[in-house]
């Protein structure tokens, strides 16, 4: 069984596509689709990598990221932040809150795979 990715994203068809893609690449993929309890889910599942959408119902991806960085067990956890905005302000916020990488929608499958492989060696 490969390394473990937790995908936090609220768009079902993006979840399905990325899950399929990562599964085919040898990753074990868990998914979660709301922001309210996302931090608890990360702590409970202890993934090797989190792929985190910014605009989630209940809580912003930036707030989730900040809380993860404040927790001892998740302060160094690789987090790939996904956003549909991509303006310099969003990139700055992602970096300030401690994103390992930042990716703007729409992205290609190859880009996702490349970044995920870079962040965690399966």
């Amino acid at each position: 069984m490969g390394k473990h990715v937790l995908l936090i994203e609220d768009e079902p068809n993006i979840i399905e596509a990325i899950s399929f893609l990562l599964n085919r690449d040898g990753w074990r993929v868990d998914t979660h689709s709301n922001g309210i309890d996302a931090v608890e889910v990360v702590q409970a599942k202890s993934p090797d990598l989190v792929v985190l959408d910014v605009m989630l119902p209940g809580k912003s991806g930036y707030d989730i990221l900040r809380e993860l960085r404040e927790g001892a067990a998740t302060s160094d956890l690789p987090v790939l932040v996904l956003t549909a905005r991509g303006q310099s302000r969003d990139r700055e916020m992602a970096e300030r809150f401690g994103a390992s990488r930042f990716m703007t929608k729409p992205f290609s499958n190859a880009e996702v795979l490349e970044v995920v492989r870079e962040l965690v060696t399966p």
Partner: protein, 446 residues
């Protein structure tokens, strides 16, 4: 096998469909039957006069033989491969892909076009995103759909072996996302239309005039009759409900010019000329009515849409390069604000007064069209000594009837003999352009 090398197969197919013998067709174009046989089996490449003669003998357009119905599909696949995302695609095998997997090729083409449409919306709205939360939320929704479509289409296109249940599920997802995308795009357009309407009510005189012209399809039947047009012009302007005196004055000048053009080029005769000539020919029209080229261009561009074989665009600018008249045409956006692309033939004409320029142009960017343009800069005002010469430039924009999909390209992917232009620097993706005034907002994300 490349698209052009299939020409022979199309010739054979057409000949057999018509029931013409090989010897008959060969004789009609003055070649031997054995040579025609080689051509039909794609063992000799042909073009020029022989291809024209064969097309004429077979009663088809030359392009149908040289390009075939799959031309647009292959051209779009190549266009997709030419984007940064297509760097790994085997560009020289696009025709093979289209031939072997036509369904997948259609899917890739559809996804590519869909992304292009959405990117275009993104370009248009980038400036407003930071200031409009409703727009930002809508764009997030649309971009999420684009992401889902792109990712799903990528999986379908790139995965060699995919289980039927996954394939079916992804097809369903694509369909769902496409529907949501269409709804999201329509919602955005409706929102922007409303926003544009709000702006128009408090906008410049030029904007008011353009709105008025659009409402009339740039054509005024009431001004086509002979006689003094002043009363009709006043009536039209009164009906325009312009907000201030400025647009009324500008509109009166424009309508007076329209009426003068109509007097010099009566509608019935113009329509007869348009019907008699297969192509838009402003020079021929100017000769026929003994008018200058600018007048002929204005007259053509302001015919009613159902009087024209193809839609026509027109831009007029003064000697400073400021646009004084815009009639947009699909695929050739005309910027509302700021300067247009300095590579437009309109501005080339300004630098060479009285030189008539006929130039093929192609707009940069995804899905942009190719157009024939006719441009000229002419002096305005009465001739007098020791007075500054002022010129006015016209550019008539005519869509290419036949998509140029199999024409030679340079190493940079540009079509030879076709000037690559943009809309305006701010949204132009073209790199290393000597005409660039300011950086493009088309960042790498787009």
């Amino acid at each position: 096998m490349s698209m052009s090398t299939l020409t022979g197969s199309r010739i054979r197919e057409r000949r057999l469909m018509l029931g013409v013998r090989q010897t008959q067709l060969a004789a009609s174009v003055n070649i031997s039957a054995s040579y025609l046989n080689l051509i039909e089996h794609n063992r000799r490449r042909i073009g020029g006069k022989l291809l024209r003669d064969l097309a004429a003998a077979l009663g088809v357009e030359q392009a149908l033989l040289s390009e075939g119905a799959e031309a647009a599909l292959i051209a779009t696949l190549r266009e997709a491969a030419a984007t940064p995302l297509g760097a790994a695609a085997e560009r020289d095998r696009a025709d093979e892909f289209a031939g072997r997997f036509p369904g997948w090729a259609q899917l890739v083409m559809g996804a590519h076009r869909r992304i292009g449409e959405l990117e275009h919306i993104v370009e248009t709205l980038t400036d407003r995103l930071a200031h409009d939360p409703h727009l930002a939320a809508s764009m997030h929704e649309v971009l999420s759909m684009v992401t889902a479509i792109r990712s799903t289409a990528g999986i379908l296109a790139d995965t060699r072996e995919i289980e039927p249940e996954w394939r079916d599920r992804f097809h369903r997802n694509l369909n769902e996302d496409a529907v949501r995308l269409a709804e999201g795009a329509q919602s955005l357009v409706a929102y922007l239309d409303r926003a544009e309407g709000d702006e128009a009510r408090a906008s410049s005189p030029q904007d008011e005039i353009e709105a008025f012209l659009r409402a009339h399809d740039f054509h005024f039947s009431a001004l086509e009759a002979p006689g003094d047009p002043q009363a009709t012009i006043s009536m039209l302007i009164d009906a325009g409900n312009f907000a201030s005196a400025s647009p009324r004055v500008m509109m009166r000048a424009l309508l007076e010019r329209y009426a003068a053009d109509a007097q010099r080029m009566p509608l019935g005769a113009v329509l007869a000329e348009v019907a008699a000539v297969p192509q838009i020919d402003p020079a021929g029209m100017a000769r026929r009515f003994d008018v200058d080229l600018g007048t002929a261009m204005r007259r053509l561009a302001m015919l009613a849409p159902d009087h024209l074989p193809v839609p026509l665009g027109l831009v007029i600018c003064d000697a400073s390069g400021s646009t004084t008249f815009r009639k947009p045409i699909e695929g050739f956006p005309l910027p509302r604000f700021g300067g247009a692309c300095p590579l437009w033939p309109l501005y080339s004409a300004l630098g060479r007064p009285m030189a008539a320029l006929h130039m093929q142009v192609r707009q940069s960017g995804r899905g942009a069209g190719q157009f024939d343009t006719y441009a000229i800069a002419q002096p305005i005002g009465p001739q007098q000594f020791d007075a500054p010469m002022l010129v006015e430039a016209h550019m008539l924009i005519v869509p290419e009837k036949t998509a140029q999909t199999d024409v030679p390209t340079t190493d940079a992917g540009q079509v030879e003999g076709v000037r690559q232009i943009g809309v305006t620097c701010r949204i132009c993706p073209r790199k290393d352009c000597i005409g660039r005034r300011e950086p493009s907002i088309m960042s790498e994300e787009f």
